[in-house]
Symmetry: C2
Subunit: 121 residues, 2 copies
DNA sequence: TTATCACTTAGAGTCTAGTCTAAGTCAATA
DNA sequence: TATTGACTTAGACTAGACTCTAAGTGATAA
């Protein structure tokens, strides 16, 4: 699969894909005889995972660490699991924070709707 | 209330508070005879709101727009409400995205726990 | 054969949201 | 009185995550 196809499939830019490869999140992707990238199934799976985790706000740095541990082999399993559990915790907290903010936002909108807005901001 | 007290109260830095003032999110904050900031109750309420919305990922730019509309007066009420509703929608989508990612993360952790991890990454 | 187009690279530039620095003022304390 | 410490300013710097540019290669269309 070419970089263009991958970019379309996952709705991201070629630049981002090359950037992820440069920082070591994906690949190194195989190149054909003219030096053009040909993404493998495994590359695609990694990209999908990375994209999903990025959309949740997990940093490139953390993901890079996870990928590196993975590439180190079996003996890093526990450490990888712990890393994921740590991110799970952070993500749950973030969702909580955002849900609270959403409630406040909804409340404020309600004030606008019922024209009871006599407050600050 | 001094900048230091405000910063402590809301767990942010003096720099951030001055930055918010510089970009027009807060204030202009009253200064005493020696030029020291003295935050009013209204300033505090704005800061609390801003902080809450920032923690949900709403951009400075959007918040600035909202504050500006507010300062324009009554006749921007509808526009303000629409802006908030737009942000509500975005926030709900973001929470959904993050919740989905969280589920995937939990699933992966489960695979680690049950030692069924035979996949990619 | 020449031009077009998609790809390649290294590296520079951009955006957001702060964060830090340097130089200066003022009030209070040793 | 001298110095300490908290505050002030303008403006430079940073981190994270891309995003763009310039210069080049190679396959295909006119």
């Amino acid at each position: 699969m070419t970089i263009k196809e991958v970019a379309e499939k996952f709705d991201m830019t070629n630049d981002t894909l090359r950037y992820y490869e440069k920082v070591g999140l994906v690949g190194p992707v195989k190149k054909n005889s003219s030096g053009i990238r040909d993404y493998s199934e495994e590359d695609l799976k990694r990209i999908e995972f990375i994209k999903c985790m990025r959309s949740a706000g997990i940093s490139i740095e953390v993901l890079k660490k996870y990928v590196d541990l993975y590439d180190e082999g079996e003996n890093t399993k526990l450490e990888r699991q712990q890393l994921l559990e740590e991110e799970q915790k952070k993500l749950e907290e973030k969702i909580k924070t955002m849900t609270d903010a959403l409630e406040k936002l909804k409340f404020k909108i309600e004030l606008y709707k019922t024209d009871k807005l006599d407050e600050y901001l």
